[in-house]
């Protein structure tokens, strides 16, 4: 019995999502090996080898794995299938894309976005935007699982696993990489940020995001999020979206500004430790989940808050 954890990484280092997924993978009770697939990814594989409890790291270093294309990555994972009983990956966009393809090729049903390992074949997962929690038992001999990382603690370092090369598999050649627009930012990533400041439709423009939300976020060392309404309206880029179909986050502090609190937004942030809501509509549903609610005009309250934090030495 061995579990293969497929790592989220940027070739140079391992992402926090991998540390959190390791906690879920270890809960299956079997040895855990980690697959690092990328191009020039030796540094990431070395980082994975230091994770506590990892028994072996497989490095698949090949141009075919440089751009997260689903077809070659799925073919690689399937080629390793005979040696493993479970395949576990974080529910990031990369693995939401790849893992169901792996599951179908293995003729098993994926268990998506688990939030708890009840036993090695039984898991809890949210359905209906988190309005119900299903407990499911997988009858498949091999398990394919994606993990909602916000509900698992990050595993630390402490291991020294050997790194072995995994043989590359012929690229099916069905798709190719054309280009990408990746926002460069010094702010923490949403899924690992300790504090998140999010703006909603009431922000009215991208300029207001820059003028009100971002300075507050920077004062707090926070990541910046947005509601679906704000992203749809073009006030914020798609990768800022928090919600049922965007990113699911659970920071120490979540500050919702001008966000009404639609069900699908709450699905993405209601597990945050402390929630603050600033909204001028006192009946906004966001106040039903907020620990601290401030009924106020955000255009006055947010600069005041940013200034008050500055006085605190933030």
């Amino acid at each position: 019995m061995t579990t293969l954890l497929i790592a989220e990484h940027d070739n140079a280092s391992i992402k926090d999502a991998t540390n959190k997924t390791l906690t879920a993978a270890a809960a299956l009770g079997a040895d855990v090996h980690v697959l690092v697939a990328g191009e020039n990814a030796k540094a990431a594989a070395d980082a994975a080898s230091k994770l506590a409890g990892v028994k072996k790291v497989l490095l698949a270093d090949n141009a075919a794995y440089a751009h997260d294309l689903a077809e070659p990555l799925a073919a690689l994972i399937v080629s390793l299938a005979p040696s493993y009983d479970a395949f576990v990956a974080p529910a990031t966009s990369r693995f939401k894309n790849v893992m169901p393809r792996v599951a179908a090729l293995l003729d098993v049903m994926q268990v998506s976005e688990i939030i708890k390992v009840v036993s090695p074949d039984t898991f809890e997962r949210p359905i209906y935007a988190g309005n119900a929690i299903q407990t499911v038992k997988s009858k498949d001999a091999k398990k394919v699982i994606t993990v909602r990382t916000s509900t698992f603690a990050a595993a630390g370092d402490g291991g020294s696993a050997p790194v072995e090369n995994a043989a590359a598999v012929a690229d099916p050649g069905l798709s190719s990489f054309v280009g990408e627009e990746v926002a460069k930012s010094d702010r923490p990533e949403l899924t690992s940020a300790k504090i998140i400041v999010s703006g909603g439709r009431a922000m009215q423009s991208r300029e207001n995001f820059a003028k009100y939300i971002e300075p507050l976020a920077d004062k707090l060392g926070a990541g910046v999020g947005a509601s679906r309404a704000a992203v749809d309206a073009g006030y914020a880029p798609n990768d800022w979206q928090v919600g049922q179909t965007g990113k699911v986050v659970a920071p120490e502090l979540y500050v919702a500004i001008g966000i009404s609190g639609a069900i699908q937004h709450l699905a993405g942030m209601k597990d945050s430790k402390v929630i603050v809501a600033i909204n001028k509509d006192e009946d906004a549903p966001i106040f039903q989940v907020a620990d601290y609610g401030l009924v106020a005009d955000l255009y006055q309250a947010v600069p005041e808050l940013t200034e008050a934090l500055g006085k605190l030495g933030k």
């Binding site: 998506s112 209906y128 499911v136 990489f177 120490e252 609610g293 009924v295």
Partner: protein
């Protein structure tokens, strides 16, 4: 080029679902049902391809109970040409859905299949990727832009860090994200016209697909509740509470 669009009948997105008190599932009796919102985006995209002269026919297919024909009618009223209803009772898992859709695709030979990226009931986000695997086709999930280039496709995808553009060899699978388009409303004349459009009636057994679930649902429960907290009167009180009471500053 023919475009196939699978659509799912789900609890309407405005309904707040209730978990049954005996833990066997969520309450579905007398609840408004609609087409999965991501599937509406898929139908819309297919129709735009047809209107642009890039697609010749748009076929909507649904797998589910007899009432799923209403969901197909919604697609026909938006402008799709014809429908296929594959009757199947109970919970049909994404893997079984993908197997049925593979059989439908083998018969229909579309150049493109557009699906919603996930259904808002089980939130699985699997069917499109599984179908691509079973057909051995290329895939682009979470699409925010789709361009036809001969029999191939250029697709911009919404990914964690921003946007990624990939080139797909056709035939291909594309799954929709929110920003791909804004679906149209069906006009009354088109709703009337849709009633005359053909829907082919099939059964899951016609395709020889085993519908036995691989995942056994042991129970369905309410999520742990979260209580609302307090209202603060001003920014000063908020900062003070965050610092001393919540300890997060």
């Amino acid at each position: 080029m023919k475009v196939l669009v699978p659509v799912k009948r789900v609890v309407d997105y405005n309904v707040k679902v209730r978990v049954k008190s005996d833990g066997t599932g969520v309450e579905l009796a007398n609840v408004k049902m609609s087409m999965n919102p991501f599937d509406e985006i898929a139908v819309e995209e297919a129709l735009r391809l047809k209107e642009a002269g890039k697609a010749t026919e748009v076929v909507v297919v649904s797998i589910g109970p007899a009432q799923a024909s209403e969901t197909i009618r919604t697609g026909l009223a938006m402008g799709a040409d014809r429908g296929i209803l594959v009757k199947a009772e109970g919970n049909v898992e994404p893997l079984a859905v993908a197997k049925i859709l593979k059989a439908v695709a083998d018969a229909e030979k579309p150049g493109l299949i557009i699906l919603g990226k996930q259904a808002i009931d089980d939130d699985s986000n699997q069917t499109g990727q599984m179908l691509a695997a079973l057909l051995g086709w290329s895939q682009a999930t979470f699409a925010s832009k789709l361009e036809v280039e001969g029999s191939d496709f250029k697709v911009t995808r919404e990914v964690d860090g921003g946007l990624q553009t990939v080139q797909l060899k056709g035939p291909a699978i594309v799954t929709t994200d929110l920003r791909l388009n804004e679906p149209r409303y069906a006009s009354l004349p088109n709703i009337m016209k849709a009633k005359k459009k053909p829907i082919d009636d099939k059964n899951a057994s016609d395709y020889g697909v085993d519908l036995t679930p691989h995942l056994e649902v042991l129970k369905t429960a309410e999520p742990p509740g979260r209580k609302g907290g307090v209202k603060v009167k001003d920014v000063a009180e908020l900062v003070s509470k965050l610092k001393t009471e919540a300890g997060v500053l």
